[in-house]
Subunit: 243 residues, 2 copies
């Protein structure tokens, strides 16, 4: 059995969490490298070394990246594209795999916009230095973008010919896991605005709950492997940005 | 032979341009639907109708989207994932296809950030209403992000075991076409900052020039099918945002 090596920042959920959820849900054999003890080849230094490895012909632009034997793949959605069929989380056949990926890319867009609510000016500067712009951007995100994204996923669930329990066909895919994580993150960061949008998205609410109660997901969420949301990640709760 | 239907806004290059470049370079049979006369089933109304088609089980979140027989696929990178092998623009084998896609996703990140330089606060509001924040965000984009993105692509070219003429192996892929478009767009929007960054990225400069002189690309760029950059698209030249 392959042991996957996931490389991601060890103190945040961030974009790596979408990969962790897929690996955990599939019961895959994996190591979250930077979260292992430095004495065992882990720690953030291991991630940074691997990121800077000059012998790698496929350098990742940024974490997360996955090492699977000879394959080194970065970009969250590309990692999931690689893992999906291997973990049984991409539906059946090429059309399902493509649709699952399209859904993932839309989750990724929502995630990038959620990040930019607290960093609308410069990713390399502190939130406090861009708070005024963050207040403005968050208003647009709350009023226009959260309802648009969650409303679209609700529409996708309603249109699924196999029923509204999953985004793709009748089985779990990584798109379901990622939508679960998006909802969890939005609820943490923007509890008021997200509750309003979810009032019109009952199938999304059910999907989130159903994913959370799957045995392996439940076990993971209640383990120390699941990092809590915090003020270093993508989904941050600044009360002044919610309303 | 399949006739692909591309649906995208008819007056801008935007994200649709990455798909147009792939179709044009491959000599594919395609229709740019919204740019056809309304009397022949074209026009923006045709795009809007198709986008709102309630019978489509795979609704696109936004243009561009591609119709290929029974397949309707949205998200630029997912469209290219679908088209890549069909157009001979994804290298050879699964590893090349994955790496090509990872490169595309990084182009997409750069494109999203380029867009946000003029819309850092709200996509639904005018540039003039967010000009102050745009000035700040553009400084970070010019000083930190353009060099980081172009420097990374330079590094990828230098590391390519098959030589620095292409991003993936020894043949043209949609990643090369997309990097061409990214460079063209950045040069249009941020001529000064981009020239500075490209001074340290000679292989990227050569790739851009080599793509532009390919016969089909050259013909396309000099045809009326290639829309000019303008102030409605993603890459906009506001002199005050460059330096």
């Amino acid at each position: 059995m392959t042991t996957y090596q996931l490389h991601y920042w060890p103190t945040i959920q961030g974009r790596g969490e979408f990969v962790r959820l897929a690996l955990e849900t599939a019961g895959a054999d994996y190591v979250d490298v930077a979260r292992q003890p430095p004495a065992e080849g882990g720690g953030e230094a291991a991630l940074v070394d691997r990121l800077a490895d000059a012998r790698n012909p496929h350098p990742p632009f940024a974490p997360p990246f996955l090492v699977d034997g000879d394959v080194v793949v970065g970009q969250t959605a590309a990692i999931l594209l690689h893992l999906g069929p291997r973990l049984g989380l991409a539906g059946s056949g090429e059309a399902d795999a493509l649709w699952t990926h399209q859904l993932q890319l839309t989750v990724a867009d929502a995630v990038a916009e959620a990040h930019d609510t607290h960093h609308p000016i410069a990713v390399e500067r502190y939130y406090e230095d861009q708070r005024e712009a963050a207040l403005q951007r968050s208003r647009s995100f709350r009023d226009a973008r959260i309802p648009k994204f969650l409303g679209w996923f609700e529409d996708v669930l309603r249109r699924n010919p196999a029923g509204d329990a999953h985004l793709v066909g009748a089985t779990l895919t990584y798109a379901d896991l990622s939508l679960f994580q998006l909802v969890a993150g939005l609820r943490h960061a923007f509890p008021k605005a997200t509750a309003r949008a979810l009032a019109d998205a009952p199938a999304v609410v059910r999907l989130h709950a159903n994913v959370a109660r799957r045995q392996r997901v439940h076990d993971y969420l209640h383990s120390p492997r699941r990092l809590p949301f915090n003020q270093e990640g993508i989904f941050r709760h600044y009360p002044e940005l919610d309303a």
